[in-house]
């Protein structure tokens, strides 16, 4: 009884905090309400998650938000009530906030028991939460170097994941990226069912890019052999000593044809059937997110046709190739978090038929990574913009990077303006048709805020 009261009080406190936060325009209230709820009931999140009819947790460095959105779409299309954290607020307090928003005033146990929870989780938040919940499905997307100043090293993350995998009950299914050797080394620790998604016949080059994060076998340390690389360290890999073996994907990407910023044409092979999909999600990296979502739907008992239909109908998540119309131009916001995602975005732009007006925004907040040296692993040498504007708190670091990369816009000089609104305005004033905005996490939120303030779009939490 005491616990139930505590829970109701936590929910109430969280809702009040969210309301104040929105009212004072401090943000979506996504984290603050979770913090308030957790302060009153520390077991708030695991308790609530364990009452859901099934629980899906999605983690990995890149693609969490999109994959979560796709799984949610597939479940909702199949008639399930789904609870999720669609704002990308993926620490435990972000999940607490999502639960606060959903929970009824008296704890809402009846509704919880019929709902499916699908939550994206930060890599370290997953390691901390997993021992306290009993998930139905854990989706492990990939591990890339990201915000090292906060987390240390990806080997450290993989070690933490392996530790929690060892304690995961057999009732849980793990769905993992067969193309990522580090993720494979984690998933194989699970003693229950493991399903795989990955590529089959995709990619050609067998040499890793110099910035790729994983080069040695996570088991024995010997250099891995790649029969095909899709991007970064993902592909069809082999360990020369054979102590770690790549699994055959249950859902395999057999073809992926990027259609520039607008989307991707891909073919998936599942249970001997091939399906062609036109996804409104750009870049080859999106193919992995689609494959993961279809494989997750398969584990959850949703037919692949229904899952694919849902994918086709689901556009990009906020800030992930999201298109916002301004009076001057269409603004396409491309989130970059690390060398891998930034190089993927540059690939995407290189696939456009004409050079695009481009704005690059580099911030150094905690959520961006305070260390900006990673831009030297981003191949700006591939950038061929029409006009180029640089901004963000570390705009001058970008200017040096672009100078050493020898980037030459096809029109005008490189324009540099620290901050967010100022470079956006300058870029828009020169833009023609479309403006590609490459932005780190807090820069992406800030540029969206500017667009919201001008009435060009709605706050990201309004469609949560």
């Amino acid at each position: 009884m005491r616990r139930r009261l505590q829970r109701a009080a936590a929910t109430a406190a969280g809702r009040a905090a969210a309301a104040v936060s929105r009212w004072t325009r401090r943000g979506g209230g996504t984290a603050i309400s979770g913090l308030a709820a957790q302060a009153i009931a520390p077991q708030y999140v695991p308790d609530a998650l364990n009452r859901l009819s099934s629980l899906v947790l999605v983690s990995g460095t890149n693609g969490k938000t999109t994959t979560t959105a796709l799984i949610v779409a597939a479940l909702r299309a199949a008639g399930h009530e789904v609870w999720t954290n669609p704002t990308g607020s993926n620490l435990e307090r972000g999940i607490a906030a999502a639960l606060v928003r959903r929970a009824a005033w008296h704890g809402g146990q009846r509704r919880e028991r019929s709902a499916v929870g699908v939550f994206e989780m930060d890599e370290w938040a997953l390691a901390s939460l997993l021992p306290r919940v009993t998930p139905t499905l854990v989706v492990l997307l990939n591990l890339f170097r990201d915000q090292l100043d906060r987390y240390g090293e990806i080997d450290t993350t993989a070690r933490a994941w392996r530790k929690v995998m060892a304690g995961l009950p057999d009732s849980a299914t793990v769905l993992a990226n067969a193309d990522d050797p580090l993720v494979t080394s984690v998933a194989q620790v699970h003693s229950g069912r493991v399903d795989w998604f990955g590529s089959d016949g995709l990619g050609e080059a067998a040499v890793l890019d110099p910035w790729a994060d994983v080069r040695g076998c996570p088991g024995c340390g010997e250099p891995l052999i790649y029969d095909a690389v899709t991007f970064a360290h993902l592909g069809r890999w082999r360990c020369p000593t054979g102590d770690l073996v790549r699994s055959q994907p249950d859902v395999a990407i057999t073809a992926a044809q990027p259609r520039g910023i607008d989307g991707l044409e891909l073919t998936l092979a599942t249970d001997g059937r091939h399906s062609r999909v036109e996804a409104p999600l750009p870049g080859v990296y999106s193919a992995y997110n689609v494959a993961a979502a279809v494989a997750a739907a398969r584990v959850l008992g949703i037919g692949s046709d229904a899952a694919l239909d849902a994918v086709v109908a689901t556009g990009p998540a906020f800030g992930r190739a999201e298109v916002i119309s301004s009076p001057q131009a269409e603004v396409v916001i491309l989130l970059t978090k690390n060398p891998t995602s930034a190089n993927q975005v540059l690939d995407l732009l290189a696939g456009e038929p004409e050079p695009l007006d481009t704005l690059v925004l580099l911030n150094d907040g905690v959520a961006d990574g305070e260390d900006v040296s990673w831009i030297w692993d981003v191949e700006f040498e591939r950038l061929r913009p029409r006009r180029l504007t640089l901004g963000g708190r570390r705009a001058l670091d970008l200017e040096v990077r672009v100078k050493y990369a020898g980037v030459r816009p096809s029109e005008g000089d490189v324009d540099v303006a620290p901050g967010i609104a100022d470079p956006l305005d300058r870029a828009l004033s020169r833009a023609d048709g479309r403006l590609a905005v490459i932005a780190t996490y807090t820069a992406m939120l800030a540029v969206r805020d500017v667009c919201v303030a001008r009435g060009w779009t709605t706050p990201y939490w309004s469609n949560a």
């Binding site: 170097r145 090292l148 100043d149 240390g152 090293e153 990806i154 080997d155 110099p210 910035w211 080069r215 040695g216 340390g221 250099p223 060398p339 150094d364 305070e370 260390d371 900006v372 040296s373 990673w374 831009i375 030297w376 692993d377 708190r393 570390r394 001058l396 670091d397 200017e399 040096v400 990077r401 100078k403 050493y404 020898g406 620290p418």
Partner: protein, 246 residues
């Protein structure tokens, strides 16, 4: 490319193991600064199993995760110690960063207690106080000669210099070698080691040119570096100093 200028041979050690913080930006920086001046910079990347057959004028090595660092220690001491030691003693420039810096000392005891041997180019020892002790992470600013160096550090190990090495620079903001004695990095002859990782040289063009000048003294003593337009670099340098309040 025939440039008419002098030829410098740069050995980039273990880019496959030691590029944790985009350390290859340092090599990119040296390449461009040579190209702008008509100096031919020939970069050989040295992988773990490779041998270094000919002398080099500049050695560059970056940082790696602990496991890669163990492999690098093994490769350096078993395969490459003689060549690197001989060239550096003969006036070749060296820039060793973070994990690579630690391996140019006498030894490094990592968080698990494993002791890795280094090349002993710097008279120094590095000890990791254990995974539970906070790492030295953040922007770092130092005094170097009559100027500043600006960078970012992220290391668990604490480095202590012996009598045979002196610090590269004096910490103004940040931790440096060990967070206590105010020293950052090490100098021994023509070799420089530092915890300032990643893209150190692009925002510190004076240090980049110092390395090139050092290497050129060995191959073309009469050649002097022509000045470049470093306005962009210095603005970024000053802005980064401003961010740490220097």
């Amino acid at each position: 490319m025939t440039t008419g200028g002098p030829l410098l041979r740069l050995a980039y050690l273990y880019p496959d193991l030691m590029n944790l913080y985009a350390d290859r930006g340092n090599v990119t920086c040296l390449e461009r600064r040579c190209a702008w001046r008509g100096i031919e910079l020939r970069v050989s990347t040295v992988a773990w199993g490779d041998s270094i057959d000919e002398p080099h004028d500049i050695y560059v090595i970056g940082g790696g995760q602990d496991r890669q660092q163990r492999a690098a220690s093994d490769g350096l001491t078993r395969r490459h110690a003689d060549r690197i030691g001989r060239d550096v003693a003969d006036g070749a420039a060296m820039l060793a960063v973070c994990g690579g810096y630690q391996l140019m000392g006498r030894s490094y005891r990592d968080a698990d207690g494993t002791v890795m041997h280094g090349l002993g180019i710097f008279d120094m020892e590095t000890v990791h106080p254990g995974a539970e002790v906070a790492r030295c992470i953040g922007n770092i600013a130092c005094r170097w000669r009559d100027a500043h160096l600006i960078g970012f550090e992220n290391h668990g190990g604490r480095t202590y210099l012996g009598a045979g090495a002196r610090p590269l620079a004096e910490v103004v903001k940040g931790f440096g070698n060990n967070g206590t004695d105010g020293g950052e990095g090490a100098v021994a002859g023509t070799a420089i080691g530092t915890y300032m990782h990643g893209s150190l040289l692009p925002k510190n063009p004076h240090l980049a040119d110092h390395l090139l000048a050092t290497a050129l003294r060995r191959v073309a003593p009469e050649y002097s570096l022509s000045p470049l337009d470093d306005d962009v670099e210095w603005r970024a340098h000053r802005a980064a100093l401003g961010i740490v309040g220097v």
